[in-house]
Amino acid sequence: MKVRVFVSLKNGVLDPQGRAIHHAIEALGLSGVSDVRAGRMFELEVDASVTDEALDQMAKQLLANMVIENYRIERVPA
């Protein structure tokens, strides 16, 4: 099955990349955006037997740096 792991910066952690992207959006003449935070998404193909705890460990130990980032795990229905 497919699992998505979303990793984003914690609140309060400055995001220079998000800010630059925000500027670029404004430079395109697209208005109405007040803030941009950049993150990333991982798509994992996993056996149905992989537990939530195991996914948690993958996110905590590698996919996210818990000093600066949070993560959210989503199982994608087939």
Partner: protein, 226 residues
């Protein structure tokens, strides 16, 4: 120093490993082993371990993240726990934070740009294993070359680092957005140092200066005293 034994770890994408090995040979003397990241064990009887700069694993995922999980790092962590001096420079600093040997994280430079130039640093703590040959508060010049050198830790951690004298070096000018201009931090025991500037690139006048030399001299002095 006769009998001095060091190891420089090379990850796929390291590019300052040779400079680091040469600097250690020149200043510390003795033997420098070159160790590949896939090795599960380190040579016996090491006095010093250095993690060099570069772009290990192409900075995939996060700078230093993949290297921190490579086989040799288990041995480096075990050696650090036993008190062996471990120095991480630039990407090596990123690897040490990702491996949990040092607190905090190194984020994209606040100005987005890669910064490659000489910077002024102040020696904040000259009582450490790596800085005893500097005068306290001394201003030195060492080059930086990085994209992800913006040191981040929460306020509580920063206060603790400052209170425990674990800020070894501070930028004398804003360079990359680092919290409190921190350029180098020590672990609690004082035997692990991570820093973004490259002391191995400043060990003789031909490099444009030799302000990095005292760091390596300090390591040797620490061993003689121990």
């Amino acid at each position: 120093m006769t009998g001095f034994t060091a190891a420089v770890i090379t990850f796929p994408g390291s590019n300052c490993d040779r400079d680091m090995a040469v600097a250690i040979e020149e200043v510390c003397g003795g033997t420098v082993h070159r160790v590949w990241h896939g090795d599960a064990a380190l040579p016996e009887g090491l006095d010093f371990i250095a993690l060099p700069g570069g772009f290990s694993y192409g900075d995939y995922l996060r700078s230093g993240a993949m290297a921190a999980r490579s086989p040799v790092m288990q041995a480096v962590i075990a050696a650090a726990d036993k008190g062996v001096p471990v120095l991480g420079v630039c990407n090596g600093f990123q690897v040490l934070t990702e491996a949990g040997l040092l607190p905090g994280a190194l984020m994209r430079n606040a100005g987005i740009r890669f910064v490659c130039r000489e910077v002024a640093l102040t020696v904040e703590n000259n009582q450490s294993l790596f800085t005893s040959r500097y005068n306290a508060g001394k201003r030195i010049t060492i080059p930086v070359a990085h994209h992800d050198g913006n040191y981040f830790a929460d306020a509580q951690t920063l206060d603790r680092l400052e209170g425990e004298g674990r800020v070894a070096f501070r930028y004398a000018e804003p360079v990359n957005g680092s919290a409190r201009n921190i350029a180098g931090v020590l672990n609690k025991a004082g035997n692990v140092l991570g820093m973004m500037p490259h002391p191995e690139r400043m060990i003789e006048p031909a490099h444009g200066g030799s302000d990095g030399r005292a760091l390596f001299e300090s390591v040797v002095r620490g061993l003689v005293a121990a």
